[in-house]
C-alpha cells in the first residue's frame, strides 16, 4: 500500500492549503446567491491542521469529521464536485442532497462520515479503528475535534476506550478558541490541553496549528505509533477561524472577539506562512503562483458549474433508503 502524501513536501502542502482556501472563499462569495441553502461552517484560517494531518494518511485510513468538515474532506482528497453538489442540494452530492454541508463523506478517499452533532463523531472513529484492528490491517482512523467537542462526555468515553484497547486512532484537537461565540475561558478551566491525555495514560503532543509542517510532523509520529500497534495519540493544534461560526461573513463586529485578535491570527495565516517559506527557499515564485492558482480556479469554476447545473433529486426518492 502506498501512502497518499506521506512524503508530502511543502509545495504539495502549500498547494493543498491554497486550494482549500480558494474553494472556501468561492463558497463564501457565492453563498449570497441564496442557492446554497444549507448551513456552511467554513474552514478559512484552519487549513494547516487538515492538510498537515492528512499528509500522512492513506486512502484506506479513515477520517471522521464534524460540522466544520470542508477542509478535512478536501485535504483527504474528497471529491470536490460531490461536495459542492451536496451543498447545492443536488442528486450528485456526496449524500445525494440528503445531508448538506455537515455530512460530507467519500468512501474512496477514506472520509468515512462527517456528523453535525458535536463530539458524536469521536466514538465513530474509534469504532473504525476497532474494525481496522479486527480486520488485521495497518490502517489508522482519525477524528478531528473542535475545542468545544472535548467538553462532551463522549470524548472522555472514547479516549478511555481507545487507550484501553490501544486502538490506532488519532484524536486531533483543532483548537480555534471558540465554540460558536463563546471563548474557552467561559467553558473550560485553564490547563494545557495535552493534560487531558494523562487521564488515559495516552501520549499527547501539541504543535502550532498554523504551521503545516509542524502539524505534519506531529501527525506523522502519531500515525507511525498507531500503525505500529502502539495505540492512540492526542494531538493538539491551536488555530483560528476567520469568518463567522456558520455562514459566509466576517463577524468581528458583533462583539464576541476583537478585531485585534483576528488581525493577529490573520498575520499568522497558515497559507501565507507556507507561501513565504517556499519563496524564501527559492522554491516558488510569482509565475508559479499564478499558474497554480489559475489551475485551481479552473477546477473550482468547473466544479461550481457542475454543482449549479446538476439536477435536483426527485421528490419521490425522499422515502428511499430508510433501510438498507
Amino acid at each position: 500500500m502506498t501512502t497518499s502524501r506521506a512524503g508530502a513536501d511543502l509545495p504539495d502542502l502549500y498547494r493543498a492549503m491554497r486550494r482549500i482556501r480558494m474553494i472556501e472563499e468561492a463558497v463564501a462569495v457565492r453563498y449570497a446567491e441564496q442557492e446554497m441553502r444549507c448551513p456552511v461552517h467554513l474552514s478559512i484560517g484552519q487549513e494547516a491542521v487538515a492538510v498537515g494531518v492528512c499528509a500522512g494518511m492513506r486512502p484506506d485510513d479513515q477520517l471522521v469529521s464534524t460540522h466544520r468538515c470542508h477542509a478535512h474532506y478536501l485535504a483527504k482528497n474528497g471529491d470536490l464536485k460531490a461536495m459542492l453538489a451536496e451543498i447545492y442540494g443536488k442528486a450528485a452530492g456526496c449524500c445525494g442532497g440528503r445531508g448538506g454541508s455537515m455530512h460530507l463523506t467519500d468512501s474512496t478517499a477514506g472520509v468515512l462520515l462527517s456528523l453535525p452533532i458535536v463530539a458524536s463523531s469521536i466514538p465513530i472513529a474509534v469504532g473504525a479503528a476497532l474494525a481496522i484492528r479486527q480486520e488485521g490491517r495497518d490502517a489508522v482512523a482519525a477524528t478531528f475535534m473542535g475545542d468545544g467537542s472535548i467538553e462532551e462526555g463522549v470524548f472522555h468515553e472514547s479516549m478511555n476506550f481507545a487507550a484501553l484497547m490501544r486502538l490506532p486512532v488519532l484524536f486531533i484537537l483543532e483548537n480555534n478558541l471558540y465554540s460558536c461565540y463563546t471563548g474557552l475561558k467561559d467553558r473550560q478551566p485553564r490547563r494545557p490541553f495535552v493534560d487531558l491525555a494523562r487521564g488515559y495514560g495516552m501520549p499527547a503532543e501539541a504543535a502550532d496549528g498554523n504551521d503545516v509542517e509542524a502539524v505534519r510532523e506531529a501527525a506523522r509520529r502519531a500515525i507511525a505509533r498507531a500503525r505500529a500497534g502502539d495505540g492512540p495519540t492526542l494531538l493538539v493544534f491551536d488555530t483560528y477561524r476567520w469568518r463567522e461560526h456558520c455562514g459566509p461573513n466576517y463577524d468581528n463586529d458583533i462583539g464576541y472577539r476583537t478585531e485585534a485578535e483576528f488581525l493577529d491570527w490573520k498575520e499568522r495565516c497558515p497559507v501565507e506562512q507556507a507561501h513565504r517559506r517556499l519563496v524564501a527557499a527559492g522554491r516558488h515564485d510569482e509565475a508559479a503562483e499564478a499558474a497554480m492558482t489559475a489551475a485551481i480556479q479552473a477546477e473550482i469554476n468547473e466544479a461550481f458549474a457542475f454543482a449549479k447545473t446538476a439536477p435536483f433529486p426527485s421528490p419521490e426518492t425522499a422515502r428511499s433508503h430508510v433501510y438498507g
Binding site: C38, D186, C246
Partner: protein, 360 residues
C-alpha cells in the same frame, strides 16, 4: 383598553424570562449561547447584561452534565432554565431528564421537587438536515413526572413560560423555530397561562382540527379557507401534551363527529396516536367517520429542499384532509383552495418568512 403590544413569539419568550427573573431571584438561565450575541434567536437577548453572568450562565457543550447540574440545583430550591438551540441536542440529556428530573418528586414522596424548565427548539428549513430538525415531543410526552408544553402564539408563549418558571415540576417547552416568527398581542408584565391542557382557538361545528405548535398556524390558515367553502372548523391548540387532558378535544368531537390531528413530528407513534386512541375510547359513538392524522412521513429530514416537497403538512394538505373528512364535493373547495395555493407558491418552502436570508 391599552394599545396592542405586538411581539413575536421569540420576543414574548424573552420578555417572559425577564419578567420571571426580575420577580424571582432564584431563577437562572443555562445554555450554550444564552449570553452570546445571537442569544438563542434573540430569546435571551439582554438578560446577561441585565442579570449578570451568575444568572445567565454560558455552558460548555455538555448537555447531560449541565442538565444534571441544573437538576441538583433545582432540588436544592433554585430555579434553573435550560435552553437548547435544538431538540436534537437534548437527546444527550435524557437519562437526567427521565430519571432524575421526572422521578425525584415521586421517589421522595413529594419531599423534593425539581423546579426546572428546559426549552428546546425544533429546527426546520434552510437545509439543516436530519440531525438539526427533529420534533421529538413524544419522547417527553410519555414520561410521567414531566410536563410538556408546545407554545404557538405570542400571548400564550409568554404566559406559559412564566407559568413553567413558577411551576414546582420539570417542564419541557418545545418551541418550533418557525413559531418564533409568529406575532400577536402580548400583555405587559407578569401573567400566566396555565399548563393544563389543550385550548380552543377557533370555533366551528363541522370538524375538530387539533394541532401541535407550528402546525396550528397551518391549521388556522386552512380553517380560513375551509370557512370560505362553508366548512367551519373547531380548531384546538394541543398546547400541553403532558399532563394530557383530553376533555376539550373529546367535547369538541362530541359536537363535530370528526377529528383531524396534525403533528409537528412524526405521524406514526406521534402525539396524534394518543389523541385519536383516547377520543375513540371516550367518544366512539359520536364519531361519524374515522379520525385522520397528518404528520411527518417515515424517514429522516433530508437537507435538500427538493426532497422536502411533500414532507411537512401544509395548510393545503390540511384542507384536503378536512374536505375528505367532511365529505364535501371537491368543486365547493376548489376556488378558495386554488387562491391559497397560488399565494403559497410564491413563498420559498425552506424558510419561515420571506425576509429570511439563512443560515439558521
Amino acid at each position: 383598553m391599552a394599545e396592542a403590544r405586538i411581539l413575536n413569539v421569540a420576543e414574548a419568550l424573552r420578555e417572559a424570562t425577564d419578567v420571571a427573573m426580575e420577580h424571582d431571584p432564584r431563577i437562572f438561565v443555562m445554555g450554550e449561547g444564552v449570553s452570546d450575541p445571537k442569544a438563542i434567536f434573540g430569546t435571551t437577548a439582554g438578560l446577561a447584561e441585565r442579570y449578570g453572568a451568575a444568572r445567565v450562565m454560558e455552558m460548555p457543550i455538555a448537555e447531560n452534565g449541565f442538565t444534571g447540574v441544573a437538576i441538583g440545583a433545582a432540588i436544592m430550591g433554585r430555579r434553573p432554565l435550560i435552553v437548547h438551540q435544538r431538540v436534537d441536542f437534548a437527546l444527550l440529556s435524557l437519562e437526567q431528564l427521565f430519571n432524575n428530573a421526572a422521578k425525584t418528586c415521586y421517589v421522595t414522596g413529594g419531599h423534593h421537587t425539581v423546579p426546572l424548565v428546559v426549552r428546546m427548539i425544533v429546527g426546520r428549513g434552510w437545509g439543516q438536515g436530519p440531525a438539526h430538525s427533529q420534533s421529538l415531543e413524544p419522547l417527553f410526552a410519555m414520561i410521567p413526572g414531566l410536563k410538556v408544553v408546545m407554545p404557538t402564539t405570542a400571548r400564550e408563549a409568554k404566559g406559559q413560560l412564566i407559568a413553567a418558571l413558577e411551576d414546582p415540576n420539570p417542564v419541557i417547552m418545545i418551541e418550533h423555530r418557525w413559531v418564533h416568527y409568529a406575532t400577536g398581542h402580548v400583555p405587559a408584565g407578569r401573567y400566566t397561562v396555565p399548563l393544563d391542557g389543550p385550548r380552543r382557538v377557533r370555533e366551528g361545528g363541522d370538524v375538530t382540527i387539533v394541532a401541535t405548535s407550528y402546525m396550528l398556524l397551518e391549521a388556522l390558515r386552512a380553517a380560513e379557507t375551509l370557512e370560505k367553502a362553508g366548512i367551519s372548523a373547531d380548531v384546538i391548540d394541543m398546547a400541553v401534551l403532558r399532563p394530557f387532558a383530553p376533555e376539550p378535544i373529546v367535547d369538541s368531537v362530541r359536537r363535530t363527529g370528526r377529528l383531524l390531528f396534525i403533528d409537528t413530528g412524526f405521524r406514526q407513534f406521534g402525539i396524534g396516536a394518543e389523541v385519536v386512541a383516547t377520543v375513540v375510547e371516550q367518544a366512539f359513538g359520536s364519531l361519524v367517520t374515522p379520525p385522520v392524522r397528518l404528520g411527518l412521513p417515515e424517514h429522516p429530514t433530508p437537507s435538500s429542499r427538493a426532497l422536502l416537497t411533500d414532507f411537512y403538512p401544509t395548510a393545503l394538505s390540511i384542507i384536503d384532509a378536512a374536505a375528505a373528512l367532511t365529505g364535501i364535493e371537491p368543486a365547493r373547495i376548489a376556488a378558495p383552495r386554488a387562491a391559497l395555493a397560488a399565494e403559497l407558491a410564491k413563498l420559498p418552502v425552506d424558510v419561515p418568512h420571506p425576509t429570511f436570508r439563512g443560515p439558521f
